[in-house]
Subunit: 389 residues, 2 copies
């Protein structure tokens, strides 16, 4: 199987190799590496880093220590040996619209919310179809220690969503996740499992058969190369992809400060529809759902019909809810990027800021004017700029 | 026991007799009779009606056939024999603030939503305390065929509300109503039962002991005199009082088009806080609650803490939700009343309109100007006015 054939489009091998190399460089999310790649393109970014070019302190801090490790060839071979591929933004199958939400002006500069540099994928399922509007998808998430009630809802509603042509995205974990995938598969639907480890790994082990079925009929997806082990922080980072790859997030059962609740928060920040399934007030696992349903912009759904109503073209949350205002709200994208490139109270020149922020040097003066007007930067010496003390 | 002593204030016997007479004249709600009483006072209104004065077609249609039936003395004696009284707007114990919501400009002219002319009351409980803001109260309503889950929530939460000094108002029916009263009483709280029949009647019969206890420790209340039988339409009319007498309405379990759902609708129109308790999505009786919780201005409450949060001074629904705009929105109260007095496409004079609308004849010309500007009335002949055809 040649790279990219799943979509009938061949991405240049050097692009795949460059991205595979870059994805090993920094532990995601790596916002400054992402900016560098956006500025230079993956091939040049990879070459410069390999060549030891001075990339500014911030990018260097993200990629330090790994720039000499090039396992790109081996990683690509490993995923191809599984019948999988590396899906990259240069591929028409890339879920571009879904990932574009990470570029919303008020999310730029937020370290936790950056798009992945690529996605390792097993299975025939198309992520672009699922997330780009033509086909609707719902992330069904909840507790690993779900109750019988929660599992019954997750499985039954996922099957009904599949019947309606809605893809189900989840994290393949015990409890709600597993039931969501199973319900979707049982109805012959497309399901996407996003992992916090390599796509070859059966994690949890009890879901080995389930993951194999998803890899045959849907898609198993990860930011991490074959061989990567699951780690605590990777689950949190993975959850942002679960939210981003679906048009809506449905929380079935969740503790108040659970991973599922966090996925819902990310989904809301990305402007996605967020819905909560009620349950008995006597159930500890419905407490999180009820807490969530009281937040602005979160819908209560008592049936699959409510879900379809809310994600449909006439859904009540079609317009993203207003986000809390921060100091960078209302600034232009270059200004936000330049602000992110300021090194604490140290002094930078406009040229350094352009390079670190990954913006055209010609727009830097205007961006600095904007930041100065907002009190976010002060001149320092004849050519320098720094954050106000 | 002399009339009105429960509040240490003696209402003139002629006022009580007049209101007792008027309350028998028309089946509540009787908006035009209410306007007449507001205009002339109860004593003069009763005298004129008894004397056969021409009261305009609309008032006459409401009171026709009963103007010669005067059972006021007997009704007052009957309630006093039970240790009860007739509570009237002239009494400082009248829940004036609660009843004032019926006077909101956009409710005037709405036949279903008018304040009662008086309330027959058994028991020491003060309605004014419960509804007038200093003390908070919650109407706990729901299905008669409640599940064990619903009953458990109604009883437990009502007890917790009573612990917090919140009075519980309900309709003494089987199911949720009964459990709400019982929970409140068990915690030593004040509870108000609003009946659709005379306050002496044990309805339902199985609640005879419960009603006797409420009459001893709380208040049993009705618009209907001793001896009145419950009738289907009286339950609907009664439900508006349940909503009006409480600062908030909590729906525990309810079918989509149930009486409890109707009480919630009235509560919303009266600008009250409305809350719905979630339950298993698999329970037919939680469907109505979930449906309700998706309506604008209705809060989902997963715990008693949520209820206290929502009804507290910092409650999220402290400001009444916006109501749908109708043609009369934004008009002055006299204009709305005059509009309501126009007889279809028939022609009325300003003098007739003043009388029928119960407004000062001097404000009628301005009211007609206002209505004409809004296209709601047109001149007809030299002295007449009618609705546009």
């Amino acid at each position: 199987m040649s790279p990219g054939t799943a979509t009938g489009h061949v991405v240049a091998e050097e692009v795949l190799r460059a991205r595979a190399y870059l994805m090993r460089l920094a532990e995601p999310p790596a916002p400054r590496l992402g900016h560098l790649v956006a500025l230079l393109g993956p091939v040049e970014a990879a070459e410069r880093i390999r060549g030891g070019a001075d990339l500014g302190r911030h990018v260097s801090s993200e990629v330090s220590g790994r720039r000499d490790v090039d396992r790109a060839e081996a990683d690509l071979e490993a995923v191809r040996a599984l019948g999988g591929r590396l899906l990259v933004p240069e591929d028409p199958g890339w879920p571009a619209a879904a990932m574009a939400s990470f570029e919303a002006p008020d999310l730029v500069g937020h370290a936790d919310w950056v798009a992945p540099l690529g996605l390792w994928v097993r299975g025939p399922g198309s992520l672009a179809e699922h997330a780009d509007g033509a086909h609707r998808s719902v992330a069904v998430v909840g507790s690993r220690a779900a109750t019988g009630y929660g599992k019954w809802v997750a499985r039954g509603w996922s099957a009904s969503l599949a019947d309606d042509g809605v893809a189900v995205v989840s994290g393949a974990a015990h409890g709600i996740d597993g039931e969501a995938h199973r319900g979707c598969l049982a109805a012959g639907g497309a399901t996407v499992a996003v992992l916090a480890c390599g796509v070859e790994r059966a994690y949890p082990a009890a879901h080995a058969r389930l993951l194999a079925t998803i890899a045959e009929r849907g898609a198993v997806v990860s930011e991490y190369p074959v061989g990567a082990v699951p780690a605590r922080h990777r689950f949190l980072v993975r959850n942002r992809l679960v939210a981003a790859l679906a048009t809506a997030t449905l929380v079935v059962e969740a503790g108040v400060r659970s991973g599922a609740a966090r996925t819902a928060t990310v989904a809301r920040e990305l402007g996605r529809v967020v819905m909560a399934v009620p349950g008995p007030v006597s159930s500890a696992l419905s407490v999180g759902s009820h807490h969530l349903a009281r937040q602005p912009g979160v819908g209560l759904v008592g049936s699959v019909e409510h879900v379809l109503e809310d994600i449909g073209p006439a859904g009540r949350f079609a317009v993203p809810p207003p986000r809390p205002r921060g100091p960078l709200d209302g600034l232009s994208t270059p200004a936000v990027r330049v602000h992110g490139a300021l090194r604490g109270s140290a002094t930078s020149t406009a040229a350094t800021l352009a390079r670190e922020a990954g913006v055209d040097p010609r727009v830097v003066p205007a961006a600095l004017d904007e930041l100065a007007a907002a009190g976010l930067v002060v001149p320092d010496g004849e050519w320098g700029w720094c954050r106000p003390v």
